[in-house]
Each structure stands twice: as C-alpha cells, then as structure tokens.
Symmetry: C2
Subunit: 329 residues, 2 copies
C-alpha cells in the first residue's frame, strides 16, 4: 500500500487560517490564575496532535458556506472535549506516554489530570454556549455522554479476551467515532444548512472516525514512523484487544489461540512478547485485513459527500478520508 | 447552640412533590445498557445525600412563580453535576468512605469512578439542553468550570499548612458555593424572572453554600450524630486544612503552632491525633468561631430575599438558611 501522507496536506492548507483562530482561542481559554491549569492543558494541547476534530468542524462549516464565526468557537470546544478525554484516558489506562511524550499524569499526578480534564470539559461547554446554538449543544452534550459510555464499556471488557467484532465496533463507535461525527455535524448546524446535509456530515464523521481508529489499531503494530503520536505497541502493552487481535484470534487454530490467551492475560508484556504478537498479526494477514476494513469505512464516508457540490473543500475532505487508512502517522 | 434540625422540614415538605419528579428523572437518566453506569450512579445517588442543590432550584423557581416544568429537569441536572463531582473528588482524595458508606471507588475502582463521573456530567448537560435555556446553560457551564478550578486550587494548596482565610474562602467559593449559587440562579432564569431577582437568588445561593461548607468543616470535628453523611474526622484524616484549623493556628502560640505543623504534615494521622486536634479546636474556640462565621453568611443569604414577597416558600428558604449553621447532620 502506498503510504501517501501528503493526503491531508490540502485539508490542512485550506483550514490553516481558521485553525490559527482556533489555536488562539484554545490558548486563551486555558488561561486561569490557577497556574496548574494552563500548564497541564497547554502541555497536552501543544504536544502535536493532528487536530483532526476541529479541522473537521471547520471543513464541514466551509462546505455548508457558513456565514458566521461561531464555527471557530465550536471547533475549539471540540478540541477541548477531546483533550479532556485524553487526560482521563491516561489515568484510566495507567499510560506512561502520550503522543510520544511523558503523559501529564506521570508529571503532575492522576489527581491533577482528572481535575484539569474536568475543567476543560467545563470550558468546552462554556464555549459551546457562546456559540448560541441549542442544536449544536444537543449534539455535543450527547457526544460527551456517549464517549464516556464507550470508555466504561471498554473498561468492562478490558480483561475479556474474546471480544467480538460487534462489541469492538460498539466501543469504537462510542469512544472515537461519536466525536468525529459530532464535530462534522455541528459544522452544518451552525451554518444553518438543510437537515439532510447535517445528517450526511454526521455520518461522514462517524465512518471517518471508525476508519481512523481501525488504522490506529493497525499502526500500533505496524508503523515504522517515529511520529505516530504514540509509541509502537502502546495498545499491546496495555493489554487492549483491538481489531487486528480479534481478526487473528478468529483465524487461529486452537494452539495459536491458547498462545494469544496466555499473552494477553499476562500481568505485564515485554518487548519479546510484542515482537511475537506483531509477527503473528502480520503473517496471519490480520493487519492487512484491518486496513482493508478501514478503507471500506473511508469509502462509506466519502459516499456521504455525494449531496454536496464539487469544490476544493469537498475534494480535501475526500483526500482526508483516503488519508485515514493510507498513512503511517 | 440549639441544634434545630427540624429547620429544613418545611422546605422538604414544600418541595416534596417536585423532588419526587426530580428523583424519577434521575433514575431514568442513569439508565444505560452498560450496567456499570446505573449501578455506580444509583449507589451514590441513593446513598442519602440531602439533595439540597436540586431543592434550591425548585424553591427558587417556586419563589419566582415558574410556569413551566423545565425547572425539574434543571434540578436533576444540578444533582448530576454534584454527583459527578463527588465521584471524582473521592478519587482525588483517596477517600474510603462517602456518606457513611464505602466509596464507589473502593467497590468499583478509580477508573470506573472517573468514567462514570464523566458520563453523569455529559448527561447533566444533555438535561440542561432539554430545558432549552441558553441563559441557564451559561450559568451551569460556568459553574462546571469554576468547580473544577476550585478543586485544582485545593489540590495545589493541599500540602500547605499556612492556608490563609482568603485562600480558604476562594477555594470553597469555587468548589462548593458556586453550585449552590447556580442552582438558585437558574430557578429564577427558567421562570423568566426579572434580572434583579436572578442576581439576588444567585447571591443567596452563594452565601448559603459558604455557610453550609463552614458548618460542614466544624461538624467534621464536633458532630455527635451518626448521620452526618460522612465520618467524623474525614477532613482531618485526609490532611485537609479547613476553617477551624486556620482559626486555631491563627490564635496559637509558637509551641502550639509547631504541634499543628507536625500533626498535619504526618503521613498518616490516627485516632489519638484526631482526639488531640479536636480538643485543641474546641478549647481554642475555633469550632465556635467557625459556626459564628457560618451564621454571618446565612444572614447575608437571608438579606438577599428581601426583594421577594413573604410567603411559605420564602419562609422555608429563610429557615433553610438558619438550618445551614444550626444542625448536627
């Protein structure tokens, strides 16, 4: 597969000016006299995430010819929601690293990560209110509850080896795709676009989110980039049952299945375990199958854009969908 | 001081019918197919809190002759916000007990407590959106951020013995009084009451919240009730510098001050330490002074009701303000 990381360049370029406004707003809204709040927030926010979610809100608003500036505020609120989730996630997963840096909780403790996450969530809602759209607020508050529900599901299933594909998709739909979906939908809502457009963009975001998550799952075992934004094997070391493992176990004979069980039930997994798992996933074709599944979802996403006229932003969104599965970062 | 716990009876009785609606809504909104969510939420919600905050929203709405049912939804959302805060608080404070029961985090773990707290916060915002008032949403989202900011402040100051009264009031104003204040203010907002009424009720809630917190601080050392809702000495064992200790240290000679320093800097404090501290707080008059301060704030709260006509609900709110400092539960 041709790793075409320039696929997202056009989207970045077209949203650049707006993203600068979003970034200023983000910095401004993390300010607080309680020094620890801007310190932790900015540490994480400036740690080089791709900022796909706010970019999606901007792209969606532009596609719907938005004639007000509220989409900037909503885009920033989406990034705040995402950052709050990351802070809490790292506490729940005991993560030592995030985006290639030491995680906030390792530097400032779990307590501060929980509370600063809460603060960012509060600020996210304040920004949403500033955008004065009850419909956008409905979509985003719904997303907030569903994301948390997905995280709880993941926790409940965390020590269960035989996660079905159905359970897996339910989790990622909640914990990842929902925010992509909301990010895209509110762009249409704040532009006062027809309901059908909002629905299509909602689905575009959802399918795109699933494609991204599937690819992330594959990259955890297969990336050769140092810039993946997390460490190779993060999911594996945390004992997370992701799509490639589900596929590999499905294909496995009894003996190999036992190996997987032993591997994932170990209290701690080491570098040798990782290389072994990685090898099994590659040779069984599970990585490839995961990326093919991601590509399917990307195509479903692209199909949702059919109702929109062809233009630069639509083309960049289509490229972005191809990028979702065709990347090594 | 006459411990007149019947002081809140009238308020409970006048809001009883509405509180039943709030309670049904709460149960309904904790439902989720992810079993752990209703389990943890209902464990905490049904553990016998006084539900003062939703009661305040109801009282406030009734005082402003609210002619719609949205105040029920807002009252439930306030209780959800509060419950989310308690779940996260217990994680941050490593609390073993809450309201006289084993804390949720001891039963289901820190991870689940963080995530279910997030879920309840999301659901709280969904309910607020259902009430369709951007002004109420503004007040409540602002409160959410400020509460978290107060918690971060408290964390930052947590190992600092010489907390000033100013710092103390700043913390409790953020982490406790703000939600009381928002709970009261939104009652006026959702009733479309004049702005002045909303402002007076906002201040009423704020002063009342401070009075409650000061009294809670005192009761941690002086309650003789088994029904205080938390264990005697909780704050002390957690090493929390509360108002009575600040007063005692302020009054102390050098020798006694050193004793306090040693006591609060210990890694763990035992029953003997607690009896010693309690004795110092009672004999120095620090407990009494704390309750006098609480009473002052209760009177400030009552003053805010001057602009309203005398009626049953106003009288019950005044009684509630007296209850804030005059109770042993």
């Amino acid at each position: 597969m041709n790793k075409n990381n320039i696929g997202i360049k056009q989207l970045i370029s077209l949203t650049e000016e707006d993203m600068e406004k979003v970034n200023s707003l983000i910095i401004q809204k993390t300010m607080s006299n309680t020094e620890m709040i801007p310190k932790i927030s900015q540490y994480l926010i400036s740690s080089g995430g791709k900022r796909l979610r706010p970019m999606l809100t901007i792209a969606s608003s532009r596609l719907c010819n938005c004639d007000n500036e509220h989409y900037i505020t909503l885009a920033a609120s989406v990034e705040f929601m995402h950052t709050a989730t990351l802070l809490h996630d790292d506490v729940v997963d005991d993560s030592r690293m995030r985006r290639g840096k030491i995680s906030a909780r390792m530097l400032w403790g779990n307590e501060a990560s929980v509370l600063v996450g809460d603060y960012l969530l509060g600020e996210a809602f304040k920004m949403m209110v500033n955008a004065r759209s009850l419909d956008a607020l409905e979509v985003l508050s719904n997303a907030a509850a569903i994301i948390a529900e997905g995280e709880v599901m993941q926790l409940v299933y965390s020590n269960q080896l035989l996660l079905t594909k159905e359970q897996y998709f339910k989790i990622i739909d909640h914990k990842t795709a929902k925010l992509f979906s909301a990010a895209a939908e509110i762009g249409a809502i704040i532009s006062n676009a027809p309901k059908e457009y909002a629905e299509q963009l909602r689905d575009f975001g959802e399918f795109l989110g699933i494609a991204f998550q599937l690819t992330d799952d594959a990259l955890d075992y297969s990336s050769d980039s140092s810039d993946i934004g997390k460490d190779l094997g993060d999911d594996f070391y945390e004992g997370k049952i992701t799509y490639p493992i589900i596929v590999a176990i499905e294909k496995a004979e009894a003996e190999e299945r036992t190996k997987w069980e032993k591997l994932m039930q170990k209290k701690q997994r080491d570098e040798n375990d990782f290389q072994f798992a990685r090898n099994m996933l590659v040779t069984s074709g599970a990585i490839k199958e995961t990326l093919i599944e991601a590509e399917k979802y990307a195509h479903k996403a692209i199909k949702c854009l059919d109702c929109f006229h062809d233009n630069d932003i639509k083309k960049a969104m289509i490229d972005g969908a191809h990028f979702s599965y065709n990347r090594d970062i």
